[in-house]
């Protein structure tokens, strides 16, 4: 399983990378390689040029900017897993990262690569959907911002033009003390989720939900924000009945079916995992609820 031949480019500047992507025919971006290279080894993907972004300093770094956490696209998943800024400001991301692949894949895999690859079962896109992340997209035309809801467009498809790359991702920092939860079900440790749920809850006095976000991975061709569930939560006092009601809204999803799992089962998992993720989020927000499921 050897890949077809290609020319390799390793630009050191963002501008250079943008120019290469604009001018080279059939060029692919090489970020962590953990998704792309297997496909190249199988020859499912044949690229004439690979543009390796691994040496571009501008694509790295973590910084808090105006209430947002800005993460460079080429930050390795392993780096994010252990970064104190992530744990402090975006703990949902840190929690989800524990489920992403294995240590070897996290050593190389990047957040930008995961978002650009857009596997429906991937955890990071679902987390970005829950956060309403903003994606900074770079090309020779400059940098544009894309709301995550617009970034994810279909089955392994994004709003990226062939000559564009993700430069950074902004995640909003939720109020201190907010609750978060991430639950997924996979056949084995580190496998892609058959379904997963990411939850964020901002709970005010009287346990009233001020703000809620619930997203699902693995159930549709792209990550799904369960707005119906969020609507049931906001403005209501948080307890297990409310969580159960919100999770039931995940029934409204139209799930995919493939050799790993059928639609019926994914729909069922969506509900169960939503309940569990919301339960964890409630507890972390300081609301003591019993297990729902």
């Amino acid at each position: 399983m050897k890949p077809a031949p290609f020319d390799y480019h390793a630009p050191r500047q963002l501008k250079e990378a943008a120019e290469l992507l604009a001018t080279l025919p059939n060029a692919k971006i090489l970020a962590g390689g953990q998704s792309l290279v297997p496909m190249m080894n199988f020859r499912y993907v044949v690229a004439d040029h690979l543009v390796d972004l691994g040496r571009i300093a501008d694509l790295r770094g973590i910084a808090v900017v105006d209430g947002w956490l800005r993460i460079g696209a080429m930050m390795r998943q392993r780096e994010l897993e252990t970064a104190p800024e992530i744990a402090q400001h975006c703990p949902l991301l840190a929690e989800a990262l524990r489920h992403v692949g294995h240590r070897q894949t996290r050593n190389r895999g990047t957040i930008g690569g995961s978002l650009a690859h857009a596997d429906p079962a991937a955890e990071l896109p679902a987390v970005c959907a829950a956060y309403d992340a903003v994606v900074h997209v770079a090309s020779i035309r400059g940098i544009r911002q894309v709301a995550f809801a617009d970034f994810s467009t279909g089955f392994m498809a994004t709003a990226l033009a062939p000559d564009e790359m993700i430069a950074a991702i902004d995640l909003p920092v939720w109020r201190q003390g907010h609750g978060f939860g991430f639950h997924e079900f996979a056949r084995r440790h580190g496998d892609f989720a058959l379904a997963g749920a990411a939850a964020l809850l901002d709970v005010g006095s009287g346990n009233v939900v001020r703000r809620a976000a619930l997203s699902l991975c693995g159930v549709a061709v792209l990550p799904v924000r369960v707005e119906a569930a969020e609507a049931r939560l906001v403005g209501q006092p948080l307890d297990s009945t409310l969580i159960r009601s919100a999770a039931a809204a995940a029934w409204l999803i139209e799930p995919v079916s493939d050799i790993h799992a059928g639609a019926e089962y994914r729909r069922h998992l969506a509900q169960v995992l939503s309940a569990r993720a919301l339960t964890d989020a409630a507890r972390r927000a300081g609301v003591d609820v019993p297990n729902v499921v």
Partner: protein
Amino acid sequence: MTVNGKAHARIVESRLTLADFLRHELGLTGTHLGCEHGVCGACTVLVDGHSTRACLMFAVQANGCEVTTVEGLTPERGLSVLQQAFVDNHGLQCGFCTPGMLVTLTELLRENPSPSEDEVREALTGNLCRCTGYAGIVKAALDAAQRLRGETPSRSPASGGGEVS
């Protein structure tokens, strides 16, 4: 590229994987290929100290990097503490997945000198074994961790035929 402490300079085809470079250009055949799609972990090496699937990296990407293979984990004479622990705990059978296991465990024990059994198992999910059922590997890892912490006197490397209780 520095491999096991020795510097190498080569011109290679872009698509030559790091695994094939190590095996066939440098003759370091301890790193094995089991799947070439990044699941089995038989090809695991350390790149700048981080466990990496050598089948998913092109040799050119490792330009300027320090790579450690199983050969680099082996002392001039005898076996390392971790390797000896594998001998004593029957941590290998056919030996094909073993170099990858050793590399991953080297990283684990460096980051976490006192892992629990669960932590060892979780660290090994990126390395598949079809022979041992993992028990001997886990025992070896915990045994080596203990010895490296200085809690059990290191055994002198035994040649085959030594007895274990």
